[in-house]
Amino acid sequence: MDNHNNIHSLEAKFEAKIDSEIKIEPKDWMPESYRKTLIRQISQHAHSEVVGMLPEGNWILRAPSLRRKVALLAKVQDEAGHGLYLYSAAETLGISREELYQQLLTGKAKYSSIFNYPTLSWADIGAIGWLVDGAAIMNQVMLTRTSYGPYARAMVRICKEESFHQRQGYEILISLSRGNAEQKKMLQDAMDRWWWPALMMFGPHDSASTHSEQSIKWKIKRKSNDELRQDFIDATVLQANYLGVNIPDPKLKWNEERGHYDFGDIDWEEFWNVVNGNGPCNKQRIKDRKKAYEGGEWVREAAMAHAEKRAKRKEEKVA
């Protein structure tokens, strides 16, 4: 069998697996572009978890009650855990956490743009839980069925925690909605600032999305950006009504015929601006991540040096 045929048959086998919903596992043959796409997507996802710790971490010290403080600490800690699972899932594709992390710090790898917006009030913590974790869940529930095994399994664990985060966020907002005038104002202000960026989380329109089509073919993604965005809006409007907040979109309207809400145009100029580094907090977020990474270098080195010393002493004892 010549090389060409060989690859051909491997590809056929790979595609047959995808077609019959058999998960691709780390040791299976896979097309190089499938591997690359996954590394890009999983690491982007991992980076989003750890960069996402920053805007929410911004309110841990100021949380308005001990109960809220503990819940927020635990939430941000969960996100660190998600980062760990996802880096591990990416590592099964033959790349190290260290290398992935460097890509984040140098700006080569992206993370979710939503985290380039600032958390200005306590209500933002509620809004992030409800809208940002909520939007993430739409995507992540779909990814529990993604074709790559380790990614799908990581998602199952993560999804459980994310729905808890969403409820917790919504519950913060319910308290505000029942609070005094200042609290209600805080709530509406957060809604005004987070609504559109949350919709942008699903990415560009299907027609403008470069990676989408192939990803759907490979069953990495199972729904398009626009489908997911519509699902999210349909699910969220009722919750907003219950809170008594106004969704800042005059074009938002139930469409009986489509069975969906119609909504206004997303400001794609803002979207691309933030993606390309000009959001309110892009520089700050990377600076913070760099500071933690560089500031922690001596700690990681010490841990390694100590482990080596230990191993050596053990060896000497045995000898």
Partner: protein
Amino acid sequence: MKQSLINYIFQLADNKLILGQRLSEWCGHAPELEIDIALTNIALDLIGQSRNLYSYAAELEGKGRTEDDMAYLRDCEAYRNVLLAEQPNEDFAYTIARQFFFDVYNHLFHKELVNSKDEQLAAIAEKSLKEINYHIRFSSEWVIRLGDGTEVSHAKMQTAVDDLWDYIGEMTTMNETDRLMLAEGVGVDLNKIRTAYFHKVKEILAEATLNIPEEEPFQKGGKDGLHSEHLGHLLTELQWMQRAYPGAQW
């Protein structure tokens, strides 16, 4: 008696809340994800323990106040934590040294507190002890790792130990509240744990190849409400929302 018991509970609870708040500053900023998660775990444990204690103090007081009133609406001089707990993070070595010095005390203290005549305190101590066992393992291991790691980590760890040494005597020094509670069979005899405390501290520092400072630790006052400049800033941040929006429910 009741007021002394409440003060005694504040001494315990404030240590935990203040240290928990300090550790929370690391959340999202630690040297690596695993450490981030571990530090946050300890913060969660400590703040959780403080909540049980504040609720108990509020119940004893019987004025309808809550755990949050205790944490958010007392000013510096009403806070009863030891000075060590409020010292700033500075760097990871300081954080570890502070944690280690505190954990050794906290561990010995709770091993005694489980025998308290006050059943509720004994029960809280019992529950806390399981968590504290983990804390002391974590902080001791890191003292050893950093002390016996690289030249850089050794130097940083030594500086942290030297700087914080001055604050470690207060934890095992009896004040009036401690004496009253000991007489009632509620509190812990700090003189009894003092020797064990310094023994354990020196043992771990030696294993970490660190110098053991010779001077007698001198600083105290926190347990009687006389604090360092740091506490006011810490409380400013911690209490801000409750102060800015009085009476609001969150």
